[in-house]
Amino acid sequence: MSAGRGAGGSAGAGRHDGGTMSPPGATGPAGGRLADNIAYFARTLRAAGLPVGPGAVLDAVEAACAAGLGEREDFYWTLHAVFVTKREQHLVFDQAFRLFWRTRQLDERLIAMMSPTVPARPNPERPPLRRIEEALFAGIGERRAETAPPPRIEVDARLTVSADEVLRAKDFAQMSAAEIAEARRRIAALALPREWVRTRRLRPDPRGARLDLRASLRASLRVGGDLVALKRRGPAERLAPLVLLIDISGSMADYSRLMLHFAHALTEARRNVETFLFGTRLTRVTRALARRDPDEALETAGATARDWSGGTRIATSLAAFNRQWSRRVLGQGARVLLVSDGLERPAGEGPSLGFEMDRLHRSAARLIWLNPLLRYEGFEARAQGVKAMLPHVDDFRPIHNLASMEALVRALSGEGRDG
């Protein structure tokens, strides 16, 4: 059981001691104040990050009228049914509800307006979430991302190859600020991977294997029913979903920034990309990277992950991914790109790296490990983490410069095409 589930359960259970009030079903008229207060409450939820549109407010008023204002708990679940559309939102809603209707004591007054008696009730309180407090009382606090460490500046003096060749072959870690900017432009201009997978949905296809009776019949009726021109259908194709797991620990600092640019370019080009960052813990940044502007996207992603350039706990992060996310994002034949140097601290307590890699490998259609250390010709899998991970990957490639990134894109686009 995850901690979130436990917290949600106890929050739900906490409502049961709400005591009894007047008999429910007292369907009061939709007083203007009720609607106003629900609208204010919706605004609070919106500020706390829940996607609450004006339609939901109307629905909530309608629902509140339908349910009648009986008990506080019923009012709670009525608004819950309308405003919450994801499980993760439960906790935010729970705290916002208690804080909002508590501070204003609106629920009591509303219920008092509709019912003859209002009993007193003890309230066990929990410390509210910071984001709710901010949404209610202060406005949302600005959190700024730590910027990546400044790149080392080095002069490349080779004159025999063109500047373009130099840039393509240059290690990301060795690039100057200007070169990084150029690399970013190149990444944005990459012809991104378009790996098609066959779906079970059918579409018209003159060389398809199956007969399309419906289209055949319609075509034949169009000419009077004498001539039957057989129409055919074949499987449609769509892009395979991509899941990126990017190591942002200290040893990967020179690469993770550009990998994020790569992730952003991928997210821009196609919809089904999920991105996760991990150092000591796992953070999902898919939403942040969906912003169009790359700088804004990276800054938001950076602010979301709190463990930049720290230690690495690959096994723990993968375990978190396997438990919380694999079943949700690895459906439909997803390809997983794991970007990490595999330098795991010696295993102590906690999950085993080999076990988690095995689990990940078996849940993903294809697992590709991208390791910047592979650029060294004499790279040997000597580190303990690398040894544990290597047996469980389908492909193992370097990712230290633009040329290797282009090679990856090629590998993802055509050659590895499967049916």
């Binding site: 629902a63 339908a66 708990e73 559309t85 779906t199 419906r214 019949l217 029913g225 949700r328």
Partner: protein
């Protein structure tokens, strides 16, 4: 006989309880609102927590017809909404040709008539029913693709379907729609916005015991308490897939079949496969852990009983 929809949260809860479904207040509230507001109900939760069962129970309790659409990848119009009976149409065309009266307009009209239409679940749910609007269960929506979701969005907002050859079919009364998802992928927000949302969680010990008693009255009281306490304890373990209520019920009946009057580590070890469905989870729950969990469950059961 069809019954009217319940008029309060209590009666909703009683209606579900009358069919052996033990719902908590939160679930009863959303079910009531869905019935009252005529909104689809979107139920999400782990496998085996009784999402599908709600639809069945609701249909039985209200005396309505249950129409089930099981989703899968590649689900298309022909298997979800309607299909023409091509073989019969072809024969009709041949017959018309044989009789020598081939009038193109007439032929099209004859061939695309209702008697050649094969109705699939979504269309069936929109047709009038003597027992009142049916319960439409759209099961495991996460298994299908975004294209079908978009189509469903249209159906669920207007409750009508257009068949080009026949015209528009509009539901006289909105069916009671329940959509379930195991969350193997995120369903689009636009669809969720049209529905009332509820996350169906694992039940707490008291409710799980009530469910067990309602569904399997033959299980001895002591064993039921221990089974529930054990399942509650094992859900707190670090498992890849925690057992759902369905597994609890299966396990309890398995233990009854084995004539177990109370839990003991040996029986639990032998029947662990009923409860845990992943080899990793079974391997992790070794004899020592089973013994510890059984001990904990006995203790909890004594405290509860």
């Amino acid at each position: 006989m069809a019954q009217a929809v319940p008029h309060s949260i209590e009666t909703t809860q009683a209606l579900l309880a009358g069919q052996g479904y033990v719902a908590d207040r939160a679930l009863a509230t959303v079910v009531f609102l869905a019935l009252r507001m005529g909104r689809p109900l979107f139920l999400e939760g782990e496998a085996g927590v009784g999402k599908t069962e709600i639809a069945k129970v609701l249909a039985a309790g209200l005396g309505r017809r249950l129409i089930r659409l099981q989703c899968y990848e590649g689900l298309d119009l022909a298997s979800a909404v309607y299909e023409w009976n091509y073989a019969a149409q072809m024969i009709a065309i041949r017959a018309a040709e044989a009789s020598g009266t081939v009038d193109r307009e007439r032929l099209v009209e004859d061939v695309f008539a209702e008697r050649y239409l094969i109705r699939r679940p979504l269309l069936e749910a929109l047709e009038p029913d003597a027992a009142g609007a049916p319960v439409l269960l759209i099961d495991e929506l996460d298994r299908t693709d975004a294209a079908f979701e978009a189509f469903l969005l249209e159906v669920l907002s207007d409750f009508q379907v257009t068949i080009p050859e026949l015209g528009t079919v509009r539901a006289p009364h909105r069916p009671i729609v329940l959509v379930t998802s195991n969350r193997t992928r995120e369903v689009h927000d636009a669809l969720k916005r049209r529905c009332l949302y509820h996350w169906v969680d694992y039940p707490d010990a008291a409710r799980e015991l009530a469910i067990l008693r309602a569904r399997l009255p033959g299980v001895p009281a002591k064993l039921s308490r221990e089974v529930v306490a054990f399942v509650q304890a094992i859900r707190r373990e670090d498992l890849f897939k925690a057992p759902g209520v369905a597994e609890t019920l299966d396990w309890a009946s398995a233990l009854v079949e084995l004539d177990a009057a109370a839990l003991d580590p040996a029986v639990v070890g032998d029947t662990l496969g009923v409860l845990l469905k992943y080899q990793d989870d079974i391997a992790r729950t070794d004899a020592g852990k089973v013994a510890a969990l059984v001990k904990e469950a006995r203790h909890a059961a004594r405290a509860a009983g």
